[in-house]
Amino acid sequence: MATPSSSLAVPPADAPRADAPVTGTSLGKDAVKRLRKNRLAVFGFVVVCIVVAASLVGPWIIERATGYTYDYIPTDPSLVNAQPPFTAPDGSFSWLHPMGTDDAGRDILARVLLGGRISLMVGVISTFVSLIIGITVGATAGYVGGKVDEAIMRGVDVLYSIPYMMVVIVLLAFFGGRSAIGQLVLLFIALGAVSWLTMARIVRGQVMSLKSQEFILAARATGVPASRIILRHLVPNTLTIPSVMLLESFLSFLGLGVQAPLASWGSLAADGIQNIAVFPWQLICPGLTMAITLFSLNFLGDGLRDALDPQMRKG
């Protein structure tokens, strides 16, 4: 039994009946068990792991094996052109560029993996930023209630009705473009600062509705501090990494996000669209990679949410 609060979760359907000796099970252990039964979530988890591992070590391996990095342009001018996947310059089969090359002869696989690194990093860090702000604000509003709640939520309402995407675009267009790293930091802040609103609302709503439910009352009765209750039971509702990644890719697609020579999936797709009629793989390869990753992340997220919410099992 991990903590007093976790043992108060509704026992799973296959748990021992009340008259049998009760063995402790925690919300966490329960969740893992349920998650493992969900085949789609496991599939998502595996694919996400593969993508993360590939983007972390992939560029290094490619550089060792072929000498290509994400911004390596071949010195031989005859190689500075777009080649289809698995094709050597003479048209025969080759393992050298599994995703082909772009107009400058750069290896697309290396660029896609770098893009993955950046997209995932933006997703995780910005989500973290928004989590901290959103949970603090939302949980305070929902848990304290009363006048504090009203004041906070009025403020959030006003901010919410701002088309924040436009403010982000203004922010990035006017302040961006100085350096590639500076642009990344700007992205973290901008995306984190705009996505906390939804988070705050969700968390507040959850806190409000859960505050009155018996298992929270029970947790409180056993002396678990309020912060612990909020974290343990509400954090699972805030899996927004895929949506932040989407937002980042939109911005990069519009040319406002990640700057060259760095690349993200959005900016790669934007480059690919230029040549879509002639070199379709330049769009399809990064696009498909991104779609598969988001697909898996979403499945994993769905599975996690179901697994962590004991009430969902009835459905």
Partner: protein, 305 residues
């Protein structure tokens, strides 16, 4: 209800003040100017430009003028396209974006609600799994991937549909609308399914069945109303997202809509145009949110304003 609507309409004032001031502040704090380019302008020319656009005045005079312009709904002339007023740009681009957005959302509602309801009524059937898998795909597929893929297939390979451009209300709209609505379709289908599943288990549905209504009546008259609540509350944020969605879709399909102009205005540092579009969009978002809240009261009889 009337008081609620009035109060919400009054919020427009402080909200607009916040948005417009924030945008204006960002534009002013950022280094550079709309006339600064690769080459440095001769001092005399720069002085003339600054005088012409009132940039030589202290900041509070400029801020005040911007606010009064916004209050009057007259944003002045574009800096990039001299002689063209921001209002005329808004008037010519709005129909494009609005047509696109509204058609996409209607399509999303129609397909999403149908698929979600069927999935909920036949839970764990093949139709359920198929539509939920399709929905997941729709959520995970960025529209800048989906759009060009559709173009590649339908326009460049099979020559069925035109690939891009704006041509009024015509077949040119099919691909952009499909691209834009895919995500919303997917979200709405999922929300409808979970909403309906929850409602179908509730007591008032049991009552409706018990009093002998046909399954069709139970679903159409009672379940749908409660089951669609999540969809209604999703519509507020969705419409805000639709704005960002249109930016991308207008880019892909080279449509002369608000979004495309907004991006260019930002790259050109065209201050009046930026302020004008931001102010207009903010009002639109607020208005849609209000509509959603009113709709919410209609769908859920427990809600009173």
């Amino acid at each position: 209800m009337a008081r609620f609507i009035l109060r919400r309409l009054l919020v427009i004032v402080p909200m607009l003040l916040v948005v417009v001031s924030l945008t204006w502040g960002l534009i002013r704090v950022a280094p550079g100017n709309f006339y600064s380019g690769e080459k440095k302008l001769p001092a005399a020319i720069e002085k003339n430009i600054r005088e012409k656009y009132g940039l030589d005045k202290p900041w509070y005079v400029q801020y005040g003028r911007m606010l009064s312009n916004t209050a009057r709904g007259d944003f002045g002339e574009s800096l990039k396209y001299p002689g063209t007023t921001v209002n005329s740009i808004l008037a010519s681009t709005l129909p494009v974006s609005a047509t696109l957005g509204i058609l996409a959302y209607l399509l999303a509602l129609a397909v999403g609600i149908t698929a979600g309801t069927i999935a909920a009524l036949k839970q764990n059937s093949r139709a359920d799994y198929a539509s939920m898998a399709a929905a997941m795909l729709g959520i995970s597929m960025p529209n800048f991937v989906l759009g060009p893929t559709l173009v590649l297939l339908f326009a460049l390979r099979w020559y069925w549909l035109p690939p891009a451009r704006w041509d009024g209300f015509s077949v040119h709209l099919i691909l952009p609308v499909l691209t834009l609505s895919a995500v919303y379709m997917a979200y709405i289908a999922r929300l409808t399914r979970s909403g309906m599943l929850e409602v179908l288990r509730s007591n008032y549905i049991r009552t409706a069945r018990a009093k002998g209504l046909t399954e069709r009546q139970v679903v159409m008259r009672h379940a749908v109303r409660g089951g669609l609540l999540p969809v209604v509350s999703f519509s507020g944020p969705a419409l805000a997202f639709l704005i960002s969605g249109t930016v991308v879709v207008e880019r892909i399909f080279a449509l002369p809509g608000l979004g495309n102009y907004f991006i260019n205005a930002n790259l050109n540092r065209d201050e009046p145009l930026i302020i004008g579009i931001v102010a207009f969009m903010s009002i639109a978002v607020l208005f849609f949110n209000l509509l959603v809240d009113v709709a919410y009261a209609f769908f859920d009889p427990r809600i009173r304003y």
